[in-house]
Symmetry: D2
Subunit: 327 residues, 4 copies
Amino acid sequence: MSNKISKIGVFTSGGDAPGMNAAIRAVVRACTYYKTECVGIMRGYEGMIEGDFEQLDARWVGNILQRGGTVLKSARSKEFRTPEGRLKALGKLRSEGIDSLIAIGGDGTFTGLHKFHQEFGIPSICIPGTIDNDLSGTDYTIGYDTATNTAVEAIDKIRDTALSHNRLFFIEVMGRHSGYIAINSGIAGGAAAIVIPEETMSFEELYKILGEGEETSKKSNLVVVAEGSKIGDAHTLAKKVAERSSYFDIKVTVLGHLQRGGAPTYFDRVLASRMGIAAVEGLLNGKSDVMVGIKDNKIVYNNFDIIMQNHHEIDEESMRIAKILSI
Amino acid sequence: MSNKISKIGVFTSGGDAPGMNAAIRAVVRACTYYKTECVGIMRGYEGMIEGDFEQLDARWVGNILQRGGTVLKSARSKEFRTPEGRLKALGKLRSEGIDSLIAIGGDGTFTGLHKFHQEFGIPSICIPGTIDNDLSGTDYTIGYDTATNTAVEAIDKIRDTALSHNRLFFIEVMGRHSGYIAINSGIAGGAAAIVIPEETMSFEELYKILGEGEETSKKSNLVVVAEGSKIGDAHTLAKKVAERSSYFDIKVTVLGHLQRGGAPTYFDRVLASRMGIAAVEGLLNGKSDVMVGIKDNKIVYNNFDIIMQNHHEIDEESMRIAKILSI
Amino acid sequence: MSNKISKIGVFTSGGDAPGMNAAIRAVVRACTYYKTECVGIMRGYEGMIEGDFEQLDARWVGNILQRGGTVLKSARSKEFRTPEGRLKALGKLRSEGIDSLIAIGGDGTFTGLHKFHQEFGIPSICIPGTIDNDLSGTDYTIGYDTATNTAVEAIDKIRDTALSHNRLFFIEVMGRHSGYIAINSGIAGGAAAIVIPEETMSFEELYKILGEGEETSKKSNLVVVAEGSKIGDAHTLAKKVAERSSYFDIKVTVLGHLQRGGAPTYFDRVLASRMGIAAVEGLLNGKSDVMVGIKDNKIVYNNFDIIMQNHHEIDEESMRIAKILSI
Amino acid sequence: MSNKISKIGVFTSGGDAPGMNAAIRAVVRACTYYKTECVGIMRGYEGMIEGDFEQLDARWVGNILQRGGTVLKSARSKEFRTPEGRLKALGKLRSEGIDSLIAIGGDGTFTGLHKFHQEFGIPSICIPGTIDNDLSGTDYTIGYDTATNTAVEAIDKIRDTALSHNRLFFIEVMGRHSGYIAINSGIAGGAAAIVIPEETMSFEELYKILGEGEETSKKSNLVVVAEGSKIGDAHTLAKKVAERSSYFDIKVTVLGHLQRGGAPTYFDRVLASRMGIAAVEGLLNGKSDVMVGIKDNKIVYNNFDIIMQNHHEIDEESMRIAKILSI
């Protein structure tokens, strides 16, 4: 099969994540190594439709390994959701001679590529690049390690001021459908309580944890809240606690988009490098309609269908750990 | 006069700032050097009223130089605003044999100490510790350098994602009455526009700056907004721009309390060390009712009255620089 | 079995590693959770012999989670290698009522505890705390993730200056018997070549890689060298290259002990927390003479014998990756 | 005079320093603001002789503000020291239409430009970019603030391990002729002793300071040594102490080139921005053969002659401070 692949198009799509550039670089260098051409598609599906392409070589990806964001840029594309949009994209790819695709992004990105693959059969592989770590089929997504460290560094700074004032802080971290960043930055940040989308803790239970702190004269508290919390975001929870008790001097910080940026950690750079190479090798070996993943530190390829139908669960062990530590 | 001072009480009050611990350490070590006793008053005026004291020596302040926050803690005290509260505090100080005071904090802290000094004549010196750099009588306050760097590091991360998506970001930094953090983190962060309390830029003018970016196809923009902005905070400004134009994909990040924490920069540690020593030496040399400051890299002592009646202006040069750079 | 364990002694020994404090905290909190007493043994085996003990509780381990180093301190002990020394240590433990031990450290630490256990049968569990990641029986040791990131951050800074001057840099990282830090910081830092103790690359082969760079007019090069390199340390290699060719402007940086310090990453904090809890639970469940490890993200317990007889190999995949990327 | 300047050539030379890119960006943006052309001369005098020029505009300097190193690169040039070399350079500048020069670098850079100016009269201004802060005529040079913070962060990490082991560390920082980085990173890092080129402390005096630590059972010590130390570098001093006493467990770390890299601090970015603009405005206002400086937070222009004949002294106050704090 491998003789079919001679020009790979690579693009990033969806929210950016630290390590995407390391993945792009690895794709390009693997192409050079395997004497395959590589074309960068700018701004995701939008650039595919417009034919916004860049010839990529080792020089083009020089000195990007350590940078946050994505040099190929990212954008949302409404047009690609229409059959006409996808046909236009196909035309541009054919004109350019691109015969296979590597997408770096999250589940929205994958859904689009899966559809495109079903319609036109172009060999396609996805690389999971999203800080949320919410994709099944891989233990880690690119950007998650960096984002969690960014959250922990912010929590460390907030703890300085929390301890100086005996305050209660609600800190909101990213994770609309996934509590990965929250649970691990919460454990690493010494949170008194952690609120995640996956868990069924009620507000009463949360309040009781804080109240227990009060009784035991534990004076400083940090509560880490995933943005997808089912019992209210950080501002809402802070308001509800304030209404119940005047004991606490409460502050809220929403970390927001700074979690997406920054130089990637070694872990994300190495993960991205491995996945970038694996994506190229996968295409050359005839794989398609799959996502590269890492399981128990080994590269795996999973069908899109399977990835899309499952959620990356948080193990109960993490929640148990959090509970013991916050005693 | 110096023979009167034999036991100095030191405390932190108001919002904490990185470098306060370095100042405390310097006060203690200077006391040791000058063979003067030093007592820590916990939780500011609150601890003074309660007699919450700690004997301080070199060991107690070991390994705190690099830590954010304040090991003496800080709190607000309503009671100290009453004559009864202040009398109670005086009693506790006398019982402990404390004959002079060093306060580390901002203008609220100084106002309290000034009143206390007027009533009871206890020798008192203030050290400016606040991230806002909003005190006249000193070129720099302790914590400002660190907080501005923290803001810039956050802006750098947000720029990664802004550039990847061609987005417009409104980033709110601290500074209720002062634009110091905003103007300097804005220049250093490459902001397209900077909104500060001191300036009279209207929303129309701001919008025009962003619009010019649109015309010239400059695709990414960061706007840094001081929390004390007169034309609306970051969320408000973002909303107003969104109502006017659908051109921009707008996001908002409020940096909040993480600007208060973190290990202080070398500048804040050295500044705090110099000021801590200068406060002790000032008391021993008979100075009182003054704030230690730094002017043109030299230690100065200014009367409280003068400090309180003036504002630390932002020089027009900074605004001019910002304008040239954002071209 | 669990009724035998009522007072656990915990200590750190050997070189310190970031995350040791998080492990100590987790041991103490798990003891509180399981209503077991916990005593800190200061300065490793040295403090055990001297009876230098501290009663540990949640307050004692407050605010240490994020700190590098070890609050229990570490030291080498010649005396513990003698039968008399170990007998003395046993006596002190008995006087204090300590009936079980948790050691945090590397293979030297484990060897001592293994012998102690063989002689006196005291229930003992080890936690792997060493930046080198050189222990079999666990995928990761505490401190390795942080140390590798510290190395990468340093490499990033050196790359700035290397690129500005077209220089060749030899950067020496820790790892006397293990190339883990070197291979992963090398991949993440974009090294042209990586020299590790496990590999059999000759100086000629290394020189050829650099020379190829020369031919292809690649002007900047970073070579990462593990301190345990079999073909010479960074200074030696730099000298040998300089003798062979005047083409390169060569500089050397030995990162040294700064790799041991710093606030631990989220990964090391969570790993240390899990292992600390697992060590306590292991003892309470009757395990002894084992090391806690993590394999495929699950806690495992391995016998000391097995740990000591094996080396933690670097997988060939990593070396393959490094080769493809440095093309 | 200003009508003479229509095309400015800008270059970096000598050792790189963080903030150089911010200065380049400011020069380019000021040129745009004042409608003057700007040409980048690559690799300093070497590129000037070769005619290695780049047309610079706002786009070219986009997203470089936060990067260490210099995008214009730097190199040493033997040829520029010869009259023939300088004549060649002049020819290339004339062909390109460059009528004035801005150099960013240290004293070596300035000496070359001063000579060039004397010979050919081309309007020339220098911007002080060197981490050593060793230039008279300015309170701060670009890169010094960042380098000192980098040194302090490294010292903080080493302190973690020093405290865990009761060790004595000798840490060597940059500064061949100047103790600025050493004295300020030493104060900020809590050093027991600081060895700088400017001071006359003998080895005996240094040893006595450490010995006093021994007597007073202060168990951990950091000694910061500037590379230009007159009594031996860090390795030499460590060896001499070890020969004298077996009391200390001594380690050495030479920070080296990592001090040159990294994202510049806000201070260096703002300083570089101000100086870049001031250099352009200076040329346009007819100034020449001067160095831009900052004195008491105001821009100044000093003649090269004056700069070259003086040394930037360390004030005695700093040494006094260091002594009081290390008590």
